[in-house]
C-alpha cells in the first residue's frame, strides 16, 4: 500500500544478514507478534512503502516474506555492504534503511526523516550521541561512494556522511515523535528480546475509538467513519497516526506528514464536547473523535 504520492519513489531496505552471535539464534526468525521478526518488520513498513527489499547473507534461512530478497554478494561486509546491496536492488530514488532486529517501527518518525530528504543525500538520526545509520534515509546517488568504501574496506557508514549532503536529525527532533527512542532499541541478546516482548505486550492495541470525518476530510476519505484500534494510554497523536495508516489519502492534506498532528485549518472534537488540537490529548476507549474544519461557522 502506498502511503501518499510523494513517497512513490521511496523504498524500504531491511538488513537481515547479521551474524546474531550474541543472540545465539538467527534474529530474523525470532517469534514476534505471532510471526517471525523479519515478517513483522516488513509488514509494518509495507503499510508505508510501495517496495521493501530484504538483504540477507548468501546462505541465510528466511521465512516467506512480502519483500524482494537479495543476498550479499560478499558476506559479512558490515552495514555498508548491506546498505549498498539493498539500495542497488531497490527501485526507489531514495531508501529508508533499517535492520531486522528493531521491532518497534515508528512510522511518524520515518515519515519525518523522509520529509527532509529532498535537499539532502542522507538523513540520519543522532540519538544519544551516536549516528543511527541503520535507521536512516539514503539517496540512490550515494551508491558509487558506498562502492568505493567497500573497495577500500571502509566498513563504517559514517565515513559517507562527510562526503555528501547529510542532515543530522537531532535528539530533540526525534523525541517529539519517539520520546523513548524505541526506533533504535535493537535486540542483541536474549535479555533484549525478552524485554522487547514485554514492551510489545504493553503496547498492543487495547482500546478502540471511532473517528468521524466531516467536510473536506470526508470527501477526501470517501468515508464518514473509521474505527481505530489504539494502544493503552493513547493520545490524539496515536489516533492521527493510526488514521493516517488506514486512510493514507489524508496525509499531507488533513494530517501532517509527521502523522501526529493536523494541518492548519483542521481541528478535532472529542465526543462533541471538547475541541482539541494538542497531540498529547488523552483518548479513552469508545471516544468519538470528530475531525472538522477549524473554521466552524461562517
Amino acid at each position: 500500500m502506498i502511503v501518499e504520492p510523494a513517497r512513490n519513489n521511496a523504498s524500504a531496505v531491511i538488513l537481515a544478514g547479521g551474524k546474531s552471535s550474541r543472540m545465539g539464534r538467527p534474529k530474523a526468525l525470532l517469534p514476534f507478534d505471532n510471526q517471525p521478526l523479519i515478517v513483522h518488520i516488513v509488514r509494518a513498513l509495507k503499510s508505508m512503502f510501495a517496495e521493501a527489499v530484504v538483504v540477507a547473507a548468501p546462505d541465510q534461512e528466511l521465512p516467506p516474506v512480502p519483500a524482494t530478497v537479495v543476498r550479499d554478494e560478499v558476506p559479512y561486509q558490515g552495514p555498508v555492504g548491506g546498505i549498498y546491496y539493498g539500495i542497488k536492488a531497490a527501485e526507489g530514488d531514495f531508501c529508508f534503511v533499517t535492520s531486522c532486529d528493531v521491532a518497534f517501527t515508528n512510522l511518524s518518525l520515518i515519515s519525518y526523516l523522509i520529509s527532509h530528504i529532498s535537499n539532502y543525500d542522507v538523513v540520519v538520526p543522532y540519538w544519544q550521541e551516536r549516528f543511527q545509520p541503520l535507521h536512516a534515509v539514503y539517496r540512490r546517488s550515494v551508491l558509487p561512494l558506498l562502492k568505493g568504501q567497500l573497495e577500500r574496506g571502509e566498513l563504517r557508514p559514517i565515513f559517507l556522511y562527510d562526503k555528501v549532503r547529510t542532515r543530522k536529525v537531532q535528539e530533540d527532533e526525534i523525541r517529539r515523535l519517539d520520546p523513548e527512542g524505541l526506533s533504535f532499541m535493537n535486540m542483541n541478546t536474549p535479555e533484549d528480546y525478552k524485554e522487547a516482548l514485554k514492551r510489545w505486550e504493553r503496547m498492543r492495541p487495547s482500546l478502540t475509538c471511532t473517528v468521524e470525518l466531516f467536510g473536506a476530510a470526508r470527501l477526501l476519505a470517501k468515508t464518514k467513519e473509521v474505527s481505530l484500534p489504539l494502544p493503552q494510554e493513547a493520545t490524539l497523536s496515536h489516533v492521527l497516526s493510526a488514521l493516517a495508516e488506514q486512510v493514507p489519502v489524508l496525509v499531507g492534506r488533513v494530517i501532517n506528514r509527521d502523522r501526529g498532528s493536523l494541518v492548519s485549518g483542521y481541528t478535532c472534537n472529542i465526543n462533541g464536547l471538547d475541541f482539541v488540537r494538542a497531540p498529547s490529548a488523552r483518548i479513552h476507549s469508545g471516544d468519538k473523535i470528530f475531525i472538522l474544519s477549524a473554521d466552524a461557522g461562517g
Partner: protein, 597 residues
C-alpha cells in the same frame, strides 16, 4: 486622495434631483468605508425617529478603500438603512461586480432618499444619475430585472442591483439582489421598494488610485497565496453547507423552530451528501480566489446557489428533509428577493403555531410538509392570504397572534435567528442578544470562541463579554475595509497586517492600535444610532424559549440558558464595552473614541 474618491452622490427620488457632496478625510479615516461609513452617514441623514418606510429614511450604499484594489475577497459593498424589521440599524453586505462598478462611478457612497411617484430605476453613468421609468419591471425577479435593464441600456458593462416582488410589496425581510447574491438581512429590499425603486444600474470608469501600488500588490499576492492553502479548505472544497453535519453532531443545529438542536435527517441534507449527489459547479464573487459559492442541481434542472444559512433555515428549521425541496424553496426566495433566514424563521414559527392550534387558517403548514412550505413562500412575497401576516416577520406576526406564540417567535430585536443554537453556544448567545442589528452571525463571530475550545461552550460566565466585544470590533473593521470574513484565518496578525495594508492603499500612517480603535468606534456608533431610535435594555435579550426550555437531544441534551446566566453575561459585556450597567454608551466613551454627535 488614495483609496477613496472622497465624495458621495445623493439622489432624492421625490424631487428627482441629485447632488454630489464632498466626503471629508477625517470622516473616512474615522469610519473607513462599508459598514463604518454607512453607519456614520445613516446617523447624519436619517431624521431621528424616522419610520423605516418613510421617504426620509435614507437607503445608503457604500464602497470601501480596498474595493477595486485587486485584493482577494474585497469586491463588496454595504447597504445601510433603518430596518423595517427591527427599527434599528440594518447593515447588509453583498458582493459582486456591482460592487466594483459602484466604486468605479467615482464615489464612496450613494444615498437615496424620497419616494418616486411610480416604479423607477436609477441609471448612474458618466457622473450623472438618470431616473428612468420602470413600471414594466414590476413583478419581475431580480435576475430578470438585471437582464432587462442591461438589454435596455444595451451595455454589458452595466451592473445592476435590484429587488424582487418581496421588496416591491415591502415584505419586511426583502433583499437587494445582484448577480444572484444578496444584501440579505434586515429588510433593505423593503426600504428600496418603499421608495418605488426597482433597481440601480451603474457603469463607471474611474479607477481607484492607491498610494503604494507595489506595496499593495505584494500584500495582494501574499494574501492570494494564503487564501489557497488548507486554512480555507472548507470554503474551497465544500462551501458553508459543510456546517450542517458538524453542527448536528455538536448539538447546535436549530431544528423545528429551535425545539431541538439535532435533526434526524441531517445526513440527507448535509453538505457532504449534497456535494456527492447534487453538485453542479463552484463559483465565487468577483476578485475572489476562495470561490466558496456552491451551485447545486435542483429538480427542475436549474442551478441553485446554497449556503449553510439557507440550508438550515429552509431545511431542519422547518423540519424539511428532502434536499430537492430545500433547493426549490431557495430558488423561490431568490426569485422573489426574500432573506432565507427570516423566511425560514418566520415559517417555522407559523408551523409551530399551526401544529399547536394557533393558526387555524393554515392547517397544512406543518413541520416537514414540503408542499405547504413551497406554497407559503410566494404568498409571503405577494402578501396574500396568510402571507400578509408572515411578511411582517416573526416578531410582528407573534404580536398579532399573541399567547404562547410570543415565546417561540425566534428573533432578537425583530431579526430572526441564524443557524446557531444559542443554548449550546453560550458566547454566541450573548453575541446574538447584544448585536445592534438583531440576531446576527455576521456583525460578530462570537461562535468562534465556542468552537475554539478556549471556553466551555455549554456554560455561561461574565468573561464572554470581552470575547464578544473583540469579535464585534474585528468584524466592524473587516466590514468597513471591506475584506471577506472567510479570509480571516489567513492573517497571522490581522490588525497589524490590516493597518499596513490600509496605509499602503491610502497613504495614511495607520497603526494597528488605530485600526482597532476604528472598529470600536464603528460599533459604538451603531449602538448610538439604536439608542437614538429608542433602544432599551430589554432589547438586548433572547427569545423566551431559549431561556425556559432545555435541549432535548444530542450531545448537549439537558443544556439550557437561564435569565440569570444571560444577565451575568450581559453585565460582563457592558463592562468590557465601557458602557453603563444598563447598556447605554456614556458620554466619556464618546469623548474617548472622538465621536461628536
Amino acid at each position: 486622495m488614495y483609496g477613496f474618491h472622497s465624495r458621495l452622490l445623493h439622489i432624492d427620488l421625490s424631487t428627482g434631483q441629485s447632488s454630489w457632496r464632498e466626503l471629508e478625510e477625517a470622516r473616512l479615516r474615522a469610519f473607513l468605508g462599508g459598514i463604518g461609513l454607512g453607519t456614520s452617514l445613516l446617523y447624519e441623514f436619517a431624521p431621528p425617529g424616522v419610520e423605516p418606510f418613510s421617504p426620509s429614511n435614507p437607503l445608503i450604499f457604500t464602497s470601501a478603500p480596498l474595493v477595486g484594489t485587486g485584493l482577494t475577497t474585497t469586491a463588496k459593498f454595504a447597504v445601510v438603512t433603518k430596518s423595517p424589521l427591527t427599527g434599528f440599524i440594518a447593515d447588509s453586505l453583498s458582493s459582486s461586480h456591482f460592487a466594483l462598478e459602484l466604486k468605479r462611478l467615482g464615489l464612496d457612497a450613494l444615498i437615496i432618499t424620497g419616494q418616486a411617484p411610480s416604479t423607477v430605476y436609477i441609471h448612474i453613468h458618466d457622473q450623472k444619475a438618470e431616473i428612468r421609468e420602470a413600471e414594466q419591471l414590476r413583478g419581475k425577479s431580480p435576475g430578470e430585472t438585471e437582464a432587462l435593464i442591461r438589454a435596455q441600456l444595451n451595455s454589458s458593462a452595466v451592473r445592476v442591483a435590484a429587488i424582487g416582488q418581496a421588496g416591491e410589496n415591502r415584505v419586511r425581510f426583502a433583499t437587494i439582489s445582484n448577480e444572484g447574491r444578496h444584501a440579505g438581512r434586515g429588510g433593505v429590499g423593503a426600504v428600496m421598494g418603499s421608495k418605488n425603486l426597482k433597481a440601480i444600474a451603474v457603469c463607471g470608469g474611474r479607477e481607484t488610485r492607491v498610494a503604494d501600488s507595489t506595496g499593495v500588490e505584494a500584500i495582494a499576492n501574499s494574501l492570494r497565496q494564503r487564501s489557497l492553502g488548507s486554512l480555507t479548505d472548507k470554503y474551497r472544497k465544500i462551501g458553508t453547507v459543510a456546517n450542517l453535519a458538524v453542527f448536528n453532531r455538536l448539538g447546535t443545529l436549530p431544528t423545528r423552530n429551535f425545539q431541538q438542536s439535532t435533526f434526524d435527517h441531517a445526513e440527507a441534507l448535509s453538505g457532504e451528501t449534497l456535494t456527492e449527489n447534487n453538485f453542479s459547479r463552484r463559483h465565487g464573487c468577483a476578485s475572489c480566489t476562495i470561490q466558496c459559492e456552491r451551485l447545486f442541481k435542483a429538480l427542475n434542472g436549474a442551478e441553485q446557489r446554497l449556503e449553510y444559512e439557507t440550508l438550515f433555515a429552509l431545511g431542519p428549521l422547518c423540519g424539511i428533509k428532502e434536499p430537492e425541496v430545500v433547493l426549490q424553496a431557495a430558488q423561490l426566495c431568490d426569485l422573489y428577493g426574500l432573506d432565507t433566514i427570516s423566511t425560514g424563521g418566520t415559517l417555522s414559527w407559523a408551523m409551530e403555531c399551526s401544529e399547536k392550534g394557533l393558526l387555524p387558517e393554515a392547517r397544512d403548514l406543518r413541520f416537514g410538509e414540503p408542499n405547504a412550505l413551497l406554497a407559503a413562500i410566494p404568498l409571503i412575497a405577494q402578501r396574500e392570504g396568510l402571507g400578509a401576516l408572515l411578511a411582517e416577520g416573526s416578531k410582528r406576526a407573534a404580536a398579532e397572534i399573541g399567547g404562547e406564540s410570543l415565546d417561540w417567535a425566534m428573533h432578537v430585536k425583530g431579526l430572526e435567528l441564524p443557524g446557531y443554537e444559542p443554548r449550546s453556544l453560550k458566547t454566541m448567545a450573548l453575541g446574538l442578544a447584544v448585536s445592534p442589528r438583531g440576531a446576527c452571525h455576521n456583525r460578530s463571530g462570537a461562535y468562534e470562541a465556542d468552537f475554539s475550545g478556549e471556553v466551555d461552550r455549554l456554560r455561561a460566565d461574565s468573561g464572554r463579554g470581552a470575547l464578544v466585544v473583540a469579535s464585534e470590533d474585528f468584524a466592524a473593521v473587516l466590514d468597513s475595509l471591506i475584506v471577506c470574513k472567510f479570509l480571516r484565518k489567513c492573517f497571522t496578525d490581522f490588525y497589524s497586517e490590516g493597518a499596513e495594508l490600509l496605509s499602503k492603499v491610502t497613504g495614511w500612517d495607520c497603526s494597528s492600535a488605530e485600526l482597532k480603535r476604528i472598529g470600536e468606534r464603528i460599533h459604538n456608533l451603531k449602538k448610538l444610532f439604536n439608542m437614538r431610535e429608542g433602544w432599551r435594555s430589554e432589547d438586548d435579550w433572547l427569545p423566551e424559549r431559549l431561556l425556559s426550555e432545555t435541549l432535548p437531544t444530542g450531545v448537549a441534551q439537558g443544556t439550557g440558558l437561564t435569565p440569570n446566566e444571560l444577565r451575568e453575561m450581559l453585565q460582563g459585556y457592558y463592562q468590557a464595552r465601557g458602557w453603563d450597567e444598563k447598556g447605554f454608551v456614556p458620554h466619556k466613551k464618546l469623548k474617548e473614541l472622538g465621536i461628536s454627535l
